[in-house]
Symmetry: none
Subunit: 306 residues, 5 copies
Amino acid sequence: MSFTERVKRILSWYASESPGTQTQIARLLTTGELAGTGKLVILPVDQGFEHGPLRSFGTNMPAHDPLYHFKLALDAKCNAYAAPLGFLEAGAAEFAGQIPLILKLNNSDTLSKVEPCSAVTGSVDDALRLGCVAIGYTIYPGSELRNRMYEDLRELTLEAKAKGLAVIVWSYPRGSGLSKDGETAVDIAAYAAQIACQLGAHIVKIKPPTAHVEQAEAKKVIEKAKIPLATLPERVRYCVQACFGGRRIVIFSGGAAKGTEEVLQEIRDLNAGGAFGSIVGRNAFQRPHDEGVALLKQIIGIYKQG
Amino acid sequence: MSFTERVKRILSWYASESPGTQTQIARLLTTGELAGTGKLVILPVDQGFEHGPLRSFGTNMPAHDPLYHFKLALDAKCNAYAAPLGFLEAGAAEFAGQIPLILKLNNSDTLSKVEPCSAVTGSVDDALRLGCVAIGYTIYPGSELRNRMYEDLRELTLEAKAKGLAVIVWSYPRGSGLSKDGETAVDIAAYAAQIACQLGAHIVKIKPPTAHVEQAEAKKVIEKAKIPLATLPERVRYCVQACFGGRRIVIFSGGAAKGTEEVLQEIRDLNAGGAFGSIVGRNAFQRPHDEGVALLKQIIGIYKQG
Amino acid sequence: MSFTERVKRILSWYASESPGTQTQIARLLTTGELAGTGKLVILPVDQGFEHGPLRSFGTNMPAHDPLYHFKLALDAKCNAYAAPLGFLEAGAAEFAGQIPLILKLNNSDTLSKVEPCSAVTGSVDDALRLGCVAIGYTIYPGSELRNRMYEDLRELTLEAKAKGLAVIVWSYPRGSGLSKDGETAVDIAAYAAQIACQLGAHIVKIKPPTAHVEQAEAKKVIEKAKIPLATLPERVRYCVQACFGGRRIVIFSGGAAKGTEEVLQEIRDLNAGGAFGSIVGRNAFQRPHDEGVALLKQIIGIYKQG
Amino acid sequence: MSFTERVKRILSWYASESPGTQTQIARLLTTGELAGTGKLVILPVDQGFEHGPLRSFGTNMPAHDPLYHFKLALDAKCNAYAAPLGFLEAGAAEFAGQIPLILKLNNSDTLSKVEPCSAVTGSVDDALRLGCVAIGYTIYPGSELRNRMYEDLRELTLEAKAKGLAVIVWSYPRGSGLSKDGETAVDIAAYAAQIACQLGAHIVKIKPPTAHVEQAEAKKVIEKAKIPLATLPERVRYCVQACFGGRRIVIFSGGAAKGTEEVLQEIRDLNAGGAFGSIVGRNAFQRPHDEGVALLKQIIGIYKQG
Amino acid sequence: MSFTERVKRILSWYASESPGTQTQIARLLTTGELAGTGKLVILPVDQGFEHGPLRSFGTNMPAHDPLYHFKLALDAKCNAYAAPLGFLEAGAAEFAGQIPLILKLNNSDTLSKVEPCSAVTGSVDDALRLGCVAIGYTIYPGSELRNRMYEDLRELTLEAKAKGLAVIVWSYPRGSGLSKDGETAVDIAAYAAQIACQLGAHIVKIKPPTAHVEQAEAKKVIEKAKIPLATLPERVRYCVQACFGGRRIVIFSGGAAKGTEEVLQEIRDLNAGGAFGSIVGRNAFQRPHDEGVALLKQIIGIYKQG
């Protein structure tokens, strides 16, 4: 298929990568309802590992079935589906080739209270044998153990790129170096996004930033340069800027499940701020299937307007 | 191109290295406005990782774009451009071959309050595939974790040399072993430079040393041997001496952004003390492009006078 | 240095390669008198191995010294110097960084009468430690042993590209599959060039083709399509076309030593046909140094006119 | 060269080692003024790393130059020269083959106040490419981190022996397990020497022991067995005994710079006690070159008398 | 020991090699009676493998004992002793460090009538564990199987150099590509020497060339350039020239055992022609020990006159 100018433009930002890796990024950008728009809506389901099955799937029993999520992503015409090793293995054969897959390579349970650090629970070779387009990886800037996560990612990234895969990094500020408010502060969100980009990520996922500013030095710069950060669209716009002046794809997470209108208003704000899209998990799979599909389609509809 | 006597002289100090590594050192010494003089002005941009994008680029929005820095280094006719993996990947294809690149292999964010230690965020193979002439690496003498940094560097250095690359070490005293004043004390600066040289660095970068002396034993020697350290040129002269009697290239960082005249006076002092050059980051890219180019050209002009 | 439009255009043909490999191709295109023109004149000296020292250097005794050739290439401002392992090792330290080097990775002596096949006499790691920009490799399409040569090249090419080097293939039709006239026949020359391109070469070297057509099927097509091949410029033009429609660099060998005017006329014809340049060995180094330099400069002058 | 009976005798103690490793021990024993005597005087210069350049070289400026030390060892006809990676790299090509080299593989700076533990700053492969006869390694018995040092040494020793190198261990009691006096106590010195031998060292270096006895149990044994330890020769004699009944080479460090006569008296005592020789650093290189050479020659002269 | 100007000059030809490899070449040049002269007399004993024990040692029974040859080389003060794995293993411990050893890594028996090709019978790691300074390797230019020998050598050379050893190549033209007279023809001898140099050898061993010229093209060049080749000294002079203009060490074999005066006259001719020395095997060890020593000393005496 011939690509749209927008897709060609985005691919040009990754000219240092091999055609193989570029091909995988292109597959993400040319699948589903948003194909060709340069926008992405991805269904991620790592909450079974991160929060446990009861909290994640207890209110929507069929969502315990891994096939449920492949189908949800397909029915909603998402760009991709992301999950840890077990969930992907459980449906990768049945749905082979029907939707781009992203293997979440590290995950952290909530059964231990130590400084946050995810375990590497899958490998690049798993991603190849499951037919994935990308690996996913989470870093926790602000954790005392951040360096270990960065270093593991370094090795996985080198290998993934050598084998023609794309790299998606979830960058979630967390840990003893930050206040609770600081985890979603706009300066920290932008910083976390920047770190992921510097580590070689092709696509970065962050949380929608709040108006809080964590670092005194950042506050000074904001005032001096009069950077507008009062509204969510403004903050999103700066986070996109922080991702290499807009030359890296940055998408936003939806966070905990909430009311439909609340969700959609946030998406409208993200879109207004120039976000490349959203990762929507709990808000999609913690509703009954049809409602989940309907919500995802509304979200996709907003991004489609550009 | 035939080399100047000065370049040949400098290369002779590295006779133990392979012709491949010598070739890369030669590339650094024969590029840009200072080609052939034995002097170096390098543009480093790792602040996005080290200080975050807001503090680094917030006052000069276009500097969020990685291509900005490639162009800045080229327009100012610097000898090289140094950055972490992501920033280099974002422009290496577009600017392939136009300016020598240095891949900063480790980096530290400022989101965690633990004892200072950088994470290894890139690899020697990344440097090869991006066409770099050298790897860059930061050590923090004075940190409790210094040994880990030295040992990681040992492995990267061995690999880099085997693959025909040069090694540049940023040596920044920091950590619980030093007072705040000690971080830039002249005895500590010279010591940090010596450590980098002993670890096998070809080029060492330190901060301009102050007149403070941190160690009592050093104070005794200075008095006994009447080593003149009152002025910055004198202190620079000793730091050059500390780098193997002048047989290793030592360059100086510019530090936080400041006024133009202040910057230039410091460069004149560095040059007067026999510095091999400067690494100028924030003072260059936190100004508008044309002003940044102009300042770099003035700095280069000072070093060109010798 | 900023690149000319021509150099940028040529580099765009190699966009699938890593920035590292593109950097090396760029180095070849931006060195010496022809820097920036997209043209190349390379000095190759593998005749000591291929024909023996007496035949190669007996009429110009100083040419036995490996340093002679580094200096010849430098004095004539060639783009690069190509030689087997021993010749490069003998001068690589002394001339480190002064001229791009190409390590000829396979070579064939003329002491055995068996079917032609070169031995692999160097490695990609040798190329790295000697600071080379490219590996060189000879294939003999027409030899019964051609497949072994193609397969060895496949492995070396994969390794060279992974390590950020360029690949130059000498494609010389030879062996029991061809008549003596067929070795330089225009259809065979174009075929040999195409094979090198298909094997992944970035730069291809062939001999100037004669008007002879070896293959009956080729003859039919030439007549049917009325392809003009009567003159050398016409034949060169077709060979350039055969190299991926002009999207691969193809340069021509000079062959046995001959009179100056004869050499220059051939160069004019090659240039008129759109050749990217020449590899000139015996005609350069079998003359006294000053005459060799003068001839190379005249050749370079012709290509510089474009 | 045919060996003396003494050299043959010493080599017989290392019959379990490969001929390669024995060859390197032999090179140490057959070089310089003491060749053939079974005695060794080695110049070590790791103080640039261990104490910093100011304290080490500030009172003798030319000693900042790494070539100074190669020359000093040569002029004084020492058996070998030992230094960290950087100092050896800086002169190994220029002095290749002129004097046996020992690569100090771990080193510790004095910029951090943590429990003593040296960083591994070089590798066995570095020792091979620099043409060294042996690796050197420091252990700190008494440190909480001693086991890590012993375990790193285990791996380096295994590798060094497999590649035909000799192993020299600096054994310096230090750390929270010992009193300050205990660091040089005779029981501890002998214990530290024993540990080095048990770890597989071919040559052990310790400090001249004092009459202090650190461990109560040791004191009891000394009294019961009436072991004479009142004089330095007596204590040295016991330390030699502690090194496998005299079947391992044990040499002694000179410590901080002091007056010439003081140094020489200590050497006479060491020699009287049966020491195999000395490692003399600061007392040699902190004097002007000619005085350093003269002192080393006097020291060598004492050992030559046997 | 400080080196003579001649030794320093020779080492400068190998500046591309690591200090480790340079150290080994230096050991060859600074051992034995010819130490410092730049000349070499080496005892090689591979005839047990190549010709069988009866032909090799039957006329001098004690020469069956491997220790005999170590002692012979030592007593005659040769620069080195070269032999296959078994012979070296049988004496390497007993003579560790007493004389530089060269491990002949490939050997060919005379029990099969196939096209000549030696088997690889030892490894670089064997050379390290036996304490050798160099590996030795034989190539047969002219053999149909030459390429296999060149390619095996390529790998061994790369490994030997990486591990700090020197490489010595025996280059013996032989096989179906040559007439019997051609095996020692002057053009072929020079060609064979050149091939060894191009393959990366540090030292080349060839047979004394006869006045026969094998190749018609070579004959033409000799006549045209009036190269004097009538006498053995003239032919030796050209072969030295063929080895990179005299920048590689080339030594000559003695061939079958013959009368003392005949041997010495040949050595005088070699020396007059500028040979770097001789490898003398059968003429040394097929005489009784004292006569062998005496002959070697006479040979050494001739080279010592320069």
